[in-house]
């Protein structure tokens, strides 16, 4: 009997992840590690990690990791790629990191069209700090700093990052995906693979937004959280490819 699916050889030996049960970060880490293994680019991959829950995740993929100051992974990734064009550079960021404090770096990196891949984990809140309102929090969604729910007039509308980035001239591939079920996880993996392959082919900037669950701060169990992605979150943030000019 053969193993037909197991964690990538280099993740399994290290440790499990330290994320909460059901958290989408672990799934995306695994998919990313699988892609890196399938493309045989581990030697030259550098992950630019954020501050936030995923900031803990460097070791959990056993990939070379630069831990960036809060929000700055876009700038770091741009510069590392410019000076190390043979490396595969991934900026992995959550919604507070990428869309709040790092908005300037995010937009400028995208606008320069640097040949990098940005993986944006959108779980509609600041996870690590305990569930505060994020730029991506849904209208009506309760967070610890929007206890009555996000209000359009008081807080403004949720930022739709994939749509915004797709409007810029330089990005080549922009899409929104999910990992709460296997069907979507398979699509997410294909998108990540496409992004990394584009880097190898020097084709340019790719932005992969992933809707992810945060059961802990959503105060829902993992199964209800998965349903919440289908029934609620993906209504504000429709899945799909927003730009593909490869």
């Amino acid at each position: 009997m053969n193993v037909v699916y197991g964690s990538p050889s280099f993740t399994s030996e290290v440790m499990g992840t330290g994320y909460c049960p059901g958290c989408g970060h672990g799934t995306v880490h695994k998919l990313l590690a699988e892609v890196v293994e399938e493309l045989s680019v581990r030697e030259k991959t550098v992950l630019c990690y954020p501050i936030g829950c995923a900031g803990l995740g460097g070791g959990w993929t056993n990939l070379n990791t630069l831990s960036c100051a809060h929000g700055r992974a876009g700038a770091v990734a741009t510069a590392v790629k410019k000076t190390n064009q043979d490396n595969v550079i991934i900026a992995y960021q959550g919604d507070g990191d990428l869309a709040a404090i790092g908005m300037a770096e995010t937009m400028h990196a995208a606008n320069r069209g640097e040949n990098i891949t940005v993986i944006f984990i959108n779980n509609t809140n600041f996870g690590m700090t305990g569930g505060q309102m994020a730029p991506t929090t849904l209208i009506g969604q309760k967070a610890t700093t929007s206890p009555d729910g996000r209000d359009l007039e008081r807080h403004g509308a949720p930022f739709k990052m994939a749509e915004l980035i797709a409007k810029l001239e330089a990005p080549k591939f922009v899409g929104r995906y999910a990992v709460h079920d296997a069907k979507n996880a398979i699509k997410t993996k294909a998108a990540i693979k496409k992004g990394l392959q584009m880097q190898l082919d020097k084709k340019g900037y790719s932005f992969i937004e992933v809707l992810s669950v945060c059961p802990t701060n959503w105060k829902k169990n993992p199964l209800d959280s998965a349903k919440y992605i289908d029934e609620v979150v993906s209504k504000t943030y429709p899945l799909g490819v927003y730009k593909d000019v490869e």
Binding site: V3, G16, T17, C20, K30, D181, A182, P222, A226
Partner: protein, 67 residues
Amino acid sequence: MPKIEVDKEFCKSCGLCTVQCPKKIIKIGNVVNSKGYNIAEQTDESQCTGCKLCAIVCPDMAIVVYK
């Protein structure tokens, strides 16, 4: 015959694999790991098709599929 193995220590009892399995042959069992999570287990190995869906959705890299 296809089957799965769940890594006892990696499983966090999230249950995503249980709803994903088309054959509904995974459940959260009574065995508790060192972190206090009841781990997922395959109830009827003979029905497993090795489709991998359970393993793909697992956030904690806990499932290995054999075929």
